[in-house]
């Protein structure tokens, strides 16, 4: 079917597999049969409008929102299904880490304390120090602000903090929910550059975005979510040229 573009590289194993998941809140069903998969080393983006179910998908993968049907597998292990799954807090040490929508930093902790919360489940002191340096290199502003309370940072800085915090969790798969939301364009470029750099370093990324153009330019593959269903899934480049995507999501 597809094996054309990737023929030069080895076919990478699927790290995350989402199969036909159904989920919602109360009597409202938000996701009707969503499927997607993310292979080791890729950036996959999930694009779609407001209320399409992008954040709910991530919250299902993070085992915060329970499934009504379908299954989610991560690194060969079934982490969620309709009959239960792994507890959310146990996913972090498995390497499944999310930078949530709205950043959700800890406002009354300092920047450094926030970053160290990312390393909550870890005991490897030397490696934590190394990862902290990595975050400071990636976002030098965080080093300058390390003693400041998280709540006093600007939106863009908070987003960097949230990403830095996630890096300190040592992710194998990093899920990011709308990292560009409500952030000055200059900082958006910086954050997307950081995402690219993290991926070059070998990190697999699942990126949820409303800014479809930027996300598709960055990603290897993409899926389009519309009212709780995946209506398109393809290489990112092809999605950029797809007339339906161009009309609905790229404003052309």
């Amino acid at each position: 079917m597809s094996a054309t573009a990737d023929s030069a590289t080895l076919p990478a194993a699927s790290l995350l597999t989402v199969r036909g998941i159904v989920a919602g809140y109360g009597s409202v069903e938000v996701l009707h049969q969503v499927s997607l998969d993310v292979r080791e080393g890729e950036i996959v983006t999930l694009i779609g409008g407001n209320g399409a179910g992008k954040s709910t998908t991530l919250m299902c993968i993070s085992c915060i929102v329970p499934l009504r049907a379908g299954e989610i597998h991560f690194a060969g292990e079934r982490i969620a299904a309709a009959d239960g799954g792994i507890r959310a807090d146990r996913l972090v040490s498995r390497g499944l880490v999310q930078v949530p929508e709205g950043r959700r930093i800890f406002p009354r902790m300092t920047v450094l304390e926030n970053l160290m919360m990312g390393a909550y489940t870890r005991n490897d002191k030397a490696a934590i120090a190394h990862d902290l340096e990595r975050v400071y290199t990636l976002f030098d502003i965080l080093k300058k602000r390390s003693a400041q309370l998280g709540g006093t940072l600007s939106g863009g800085e908070q987003q960097m903090l949230a990403i830095g915090r996630a890096i300190l969790s040592r992710p194998r798969l990093l899920m990011m929910d709308e990292p560009s939301m409500g952030i000055a364009p200059l900082l958006v470029a910086k954050i997307f550059e950081a995402v690219r750099e993290l991926n070059r370093g070998g990190l697999t990324i699942l990126l949820v975005e409303q800014n479809a153009r930027a996300a598709l330019k960055l990603a290897h593959r993409g899926s389009v979510l519309e009212t709780g269903r995946v209506i398109l899934a393809d290489d990112a480049k092809r999605l950029l040229d797809d007339p339906r995507v161009r009309e609905s999501y790229l404003g052309e």
């Binding site: 915060i64 949530p100 959700r104 800890f106 406002p107 489940t121 969790s169």
Partner: protein
């Protein structure tokens, strides 16, 4: 007695009572901070702590302990510390059990449902205390009049530490309150700041979803919070019983109202706020008793509460606004 002496005496009363109130207020504020629930049963957990304490004292042999000839030797201090720890563990465990059985299943229910459940638990505990008060023990009045107040024996020597000639009275009981409450508050502050579980508690209080995403077992953190809050309430119940020389099934209602007011005054959810609020309520009570009139004291205390709710709803040390995403 000179004016200054009268004032100093009230300061001693106010601080002693205030430290006890602060300890109970911490239980309200910590639980609120982490699950946004006013645990109305907290005062009654405190009551049961008092009943347990008197039961232990009775079982150990009331006569030997009440005998003034035995006061003043160090074994009484050991007994006091043991009672504080015993009542603390009992109340902490009870608090955890209440959370597990009643509050946890309602965690996602509307706030009003949780509040009504907390009030229900409060009624159950009050009646439990009433039942306990009818226990056929000598210290409980031998099984008569379950609702009657029970005398709580002196455990510490009653002499005035400032000298027999001094008009201002400072007793070992006053001092013991500071000896017990101050280290507890310091330990709590260090625990929350510096330990892993403490960091988990702060993270869960500030953003529970983010806390889960950091790998924090928030259920465990919540249970630990109920344990610690209950422990402080239990410790406070021993101090309160000793200080007032009496216990009753209603003791937690008064203490609970004072402590709740203190928590709101300091800023509900804020631990330093609960400590400051507790001491302030203690001082306001003492000053009102002396300079206004005892029967007006409740009016003064709740007047302060109403003023705070109107003019500074976030409390003295509270947050301007809760951050919610």
């Amino acid at each position: 007695m000179t004016e200054t002496e009268v004032f100093m005496q009230q300061v001693i009363y106010g601080l002693s009572n205030g430290m006890i109130i602060a300890l109970v207020a911490l239980g309200y504020t910590m639980v609120y901070g982490i699950v946004e629930l006013i645990n109305f049963a907290h005062g009654d957990v405190f009551t049961l702590g008092g009943f347990l304490t008197l039961t232990i004292v009775g079982a150990l042999g009331a006569a030997a302990i009440i005998d003034p000839a035995n006061l003043g030797d160090s074994s009484h201090w050991l007994l006091l510390f043991a009672l504080v720890i015993g009542a603390g563990i009992f109340c902490g465990g009870l608090n955890v059990a209440i959370d597990r059985v009643v509050y946890k299943p309602l965690r996602r229910a509307p706030k009003l449902t949780q509040l009504v459940a907390a009030i229900g638990v409060s009624f159950i505990l009050v009646n439990l205390a009433l039942f306990w008060g009818g226990a056929p023990m000598e210290v409980f009045g031998g099984g008569n009049a379950a609702a009657a107040s029970k005398d709580f024996p002196e455990l510490l020597e009653g002499r005035n530490l400032l000298g027999e000639d001094s008009n201002v009275v400072l007793r070992l009981e006053d001092v013991s309150i500071f000896i017990i409450t101050i280290p507890l508050m310091i330990a709590l502050t260090v625990f929350v700041k510096a330990t892993r579980l403490g960091r988990g508690m702060r993270a869960t209080a500030q953003n529970p979803v983010a806390a889960k995403l950091m790998g924090i077992d928030t259920d465990r953190v919540i249970a630990a919070t109920f344990m610690i809050g209950g422990f402080l309430g239990g410790a406070a119940s021993v101090m309160w019983s000793l200080y007032n020389n009496t216990i009753s099934f209603q003791m937690g209602f008064r203490a609970g109202m004072d402590a709740f007011t203190a928590a709101v005054l300091g800023g509900i959810g804020s631990m330093p706020g609960a400590m400051v609020g507790g001491v302030l309520i203690g001082l306001i009570r003492a000053m009102s008793d002396q300079y206004i009139e005892t029967r007006w004291t409740n009016v003064v205390v709740f007047g302060v509460l109403i003023l705070i709710l109107i003019f500074r709803p976030s409390g003295l040390l509270g947050l301007k606004q809760r951050e919610k995403v």
